[in-house]
Amino acid sequence: MTYLAKPKLHHPRLPANKLGYTRRDYEGAVSTLCAGCGHDSISAAIVQACFELDLPPHRIAKLSGIGCSSKTPTYFLGNSHGFNSVHGRMPSVLTGANLANRALIYMGVSGDGDSASIGLGQLAHAIRRGVNMVYAVMNNGVYGLTKGQFSATADKGSKSKRGEVNTDAAIDLVGMALQLGASFVARSFSGDKAQLVPLLKAAIAHRGAAFLDVLSPCVAFNNHEGSTKSFDYVRSHNEAVNRLDFMVERAPITADYAPGTVRAVVQHDGSTLVLRKLAEDYDPSDRIRAMTYLAERQAAGEVVTGLLYVDPEAGELHDSLNTVERPLNALGDAELVPVRPPSRASTRACGSRTAGGAQGVNRRPRPPVPPRAPRRSRRVPGSGAGA
């Protein structure tokens, strides 16, 4: 725990990205989480991913609920939009925000308590609707803020710091996300940034609901022997199905890979996911087989990580709702409230145009805006209208 701000000074050769920002420009306030918290590593990975993707910070919205994990948006992307919602209600707030302004990049941050207990229903519906977002769960299997009770993702049979054994079955968030139709599902580990950062980058570039379960050891209450979410346990049981080398542009694969060991997936926005196979015959485009594989390996006591499933052609909520390309919050009254011409009297009573707008009355009527054919929007940073 520290109350000292991270010094402004940085390495004299700290690189800048295409926008001229250094990695440090994507940082937030200094963390007040416990020293060594896995969540801080995930924050650092988000910072790294956004820096590497050259994202303009003001085009990102980070939303969270309540809990240790949900405090983290303060600690990254200090120049982005943020919303700390009610406990477990981040998915609804994010859905609403996304509906109002589809031009932003939505980063939902939650924890195992926020998502697997109080917000389980919220999580389910945001995913099944295919909200265009990154939904990252910082999963430590424990209620850290209330001193270490088991959370709903704690494995049955695992031990608490005080030695009690968990008798409840665990909710497997990744399995749920697959079942609910998430079009990008991955699991990673806070202690492996080499794996986590490319997954985050791919999730951000993915169009649709991208779900990331990140195991994040709680150093204060869940990093002991008998825990299945400790650094040692996750490291010794981690079985990655693949390694992701994220590439931004559609580009020929130039790196040296042994034939048959690499699979390239081109996403909507042209970004290419180069996957190096680690598990024989693992196919991340087959949802059913992914679910089976996960269930099998999990039963064998492994913690399966990597990019578990991706549908590069997935749609998202705005497609199904047939909304206009322009963000709703950027539309004027005329487009939003296509009503019949008002009577003279009511126009006079309104006084001014803005006041009229507030009352849902337009002085100069316009024909209703016909719904446009859905267009596949590329999530190119900065291309959208203002927030």
Partner: protein, 604 residues
């Protein structure tokens, strides 16, 4: 790479760049912290123990510490270490009660020190508290040597010299001032147990070009002229003065000339501006006093009329570099240039001269006229004769003279105790955790982003009117505090304990300078390239741990570490700790004696 051996005192000593660069290894961050705490006397005493002349050096040091300062690599400018030293001297209380006690019963050993400059005074300072009888010789009627004769009063006021030289003389040193030593043999015959030669490099180089003899009346040797000014024999100079030479003596000459009536004073140098030997700040100060510095002009002859100097002819040259990077000055072919003047000051270097040492006295000299010495012990080929300061290896500076003085004192002490001079015990080191609480350290670990503070100068017109008006006014307490806070506390070391590390990455994430890495081990070259921020400064070490649980190693590039302690604050297991590294250089005395012998001739 093999795990770093932090048990080697040099490892952490090197991390304290300033202290490592200082010839006397003054514990700079330690005294700077004391200045910030307002403990000026304590700060002064740490300095005094290490460099003997804090007030003098705080005004005149060549500052090898400042180019080494880590702050200069992290942002633009180094901490104003030298000027902070002066702060300790300016604001201290009376320190006399804290000076070492001098035993009334002597140990029976008599030591002669030739020349009462900084080297000899340091020898006396180190030996007097041990019970030695020290006899100090100087041709001048005062102690101080070049400190008093060559450094002008506007840079170093006389009371400062008197005070700090007085601390040493006050120990009961026998002085034989105003007395030239004419024969080493005669001195040896007096039965001294050891003779320390610290007579400096007393001869200013002359410029033997046409017209030198004819114009002799108005052509002066720089250091001799400065000494004459210092002793009051010279009080004026012509209106137009040319100073030849590009070192600090030339800067002192031109600025002194400006105060003695010189209105049109120029410094004319053979080399380019950047290559000049003078310290950058001394050049700045000269330029600020309206003294132009003209470069690439080689003096060819003195012009004169009726036996009176009228000016100097110069050949114009340019620098050319050969394949090995060696510089050669080549004439440009342009016509020679003539500068009119009334006086010329020649400050083109100094030479050693030992006319008083008979060549058959047992002291060998090399082909450059310098004594043949053991570099470490400073002992000459005559076992009882040691050299130090400029007399040892040619002209250097005060702080080197002090360092030599300390080393020579150890040698003399060992010599008088019949011990092997080459056996030098390592320095005493101390490494102590500074942790006081979860996020509380015994040092101020918040990093100041202040830029280097300038020292105020006296008003120029007043300063140029009187040679005794000190130009630099020194920091006031407030500025001293702000400048002291710029120090990065490099002596508070980041100490890593492999077996406690759980590889949670917290330190990597928080490190503002990207110093810390967890990666597969490799050869140094390969590791340096693979780090998050590649370690491109080979003069700075990598701190490498043993293998961790995952088989990786921790690698820290020491280069730009801020010593902010955030790695240790974020570490959940205490694998990182901030520990203060204090190194106490070996000084003459019982502690530096061989353990094999029982202490024989110590103080009673």
């Amino acid at each position: 790479m093999q795990p770093t051996d932090i048990g080697n005192p040099d490892y952490f000593h090197k991390v304290v760049d300033c202290q490592w660069a200082c010839p006397a290894h003054t514990p700079v961050p330690e005294y700077i912290r004391l200045i910030a705490a307002g403990r000026y006397t304590d700060s002064y005493m740490i300095n005094w123990r290490s460099n003997v002349f804090p007030g003098i050096l705080g005004r005149t040091c060549d500052r090898p510490c400042e180019p080494a300062c880590r702050r200069g690599r992290v942002e633009k400018e180094a901490v104003a270490i030298c000027r902070l030293k002066r702060v300790a001297a300016d604001f201290k209380d009376d320190v006399r009660a804290r000076l070492p006690a001098i035993p009334s019963k002597k140990n029976g050993k008599r030591i002669a020190c030739i020349g009462a400059g900084p080297a000899s005074l340091t020898v006396a300072r180190d030996l007097m508290p041990l019970g030695y009888h020290v006899v100090l010789y100087d041709q001048d009627p005062f102690a101080g040597g070049m400190i008093r004769t060559q450094i002008p009063r506007f840079r170093l006021p006389e009371p400062v010299i008197d005070e700090e030289v007085g601390y040493v003389l006050g120990m009961g040193v026998e002085t034989r001032f105003g007395q030239r030593v004419d024969s080493l043999k005669a001195l040896l015959a007096e039965g001294y147990d050891a003779i320390f030669v610290g007579c400096g490099a007393p001869r200013g180089k002359d410029l033997d070009v046409p017209g030198r003899q004819e114009a002799a009346a108005r052509v002066h040797i720089g250091i001799d002229w400065l000494a004459s000014v210092s002793f009051g024999h010279v009080a004026s100079i012509g209106k137009r003065v040319i100073v030849l030479g590009g070192g600090n003596t030339a800067m002192d000459c031109c600025r002194t000339a400006r105060r003695l009536g010189g209105e049109d004073v120029k410094v004319i140098v053979r080399s380019g501006f950047e290559e000049m030997k003078a310290s950058p700040w001394e050049k700045e100060d000269a330029i600020a006093e309206d003294i132009p510095i003209l470069n690439y002009l080689v003096p060819k002859s003195f012009s004169h009329h009726d036996g009176k100097l009228s000016g100097v002819w110069f050949e114009k040259v340019r620098a050319e570099y050969d394949a090995k990077g060696r510089r050669k000055l080549v004439p440009t072919g342009e016509p020679d240039q003539h500068f009119e003047c009334d006086d010329v000051l020649v400050a083109i270097g100094q030479e050693n001269a030992f006319p008083w040492i008979e060549r058959d006295a047992g002291v060998e000299f090399d082909k450059w006229g310098l004594p043949v010495l053991n570099q470490k012990t400073l002992q000459s080929t005559h076992p009882k004769v040691l050299f130090g300061g400029d007399a040892a290896f040619g002209p250097k500076n005060i702080i080197w003279a002090v360092a030599h003085g300390h080393d020579a004192a150890i040698s003399i002490d060992k010599l008088c105790n019949g011990e092997d001079l080459g056996e030098r015990p390592p320095p005493m080191e101390n490494l102590v955790s500074q942790k006081m609480g979860i996020h509380e350290w015994s040092y101020d670990n918040e990093i100041s982003t202040e830029k280097r503070y300038k020292v105020h100068h006296a008003e120029k017109r007043a300063a140029l009117k009187d040679i005794k008006v000190e130009v630099e006014l020194g920091f006031d307490r407030k500025r001293a505090y702000l400048e002291a806070q710029r120090c990065l506390n490099c002596d508070v070391q980041t100490v890593f304990t492999s077996k406690l590390c759980i590889e949670c990455d917290a330190c990597v994430d928080i490190c503002p300078m990207d110093c810390i890495n967890f990666t597969a081990n490799g050869e140094e070259e390969d590791l340096r390239r693979r780090l998050i921020a590649p370690a491109l400064n080979p003069s700075q070490d990598l701190y490498v741990s043993g293998a961790l649980k995952t088989g990786r190693v921790m690698v820290k590039d020491e280069d730009v570490c801020l010593h902010c302690g955030l790695c240790a604050e974020r570490c959940p297991t205490g694998a990182w700790d901030m520990q203060k590294f204090l190194i106490d250089m070996t000084h003459a005395g019982p502690a530096c004696r061989s353990r094999k012998r029982s202490p024989a001739l110590t103080t009673s």
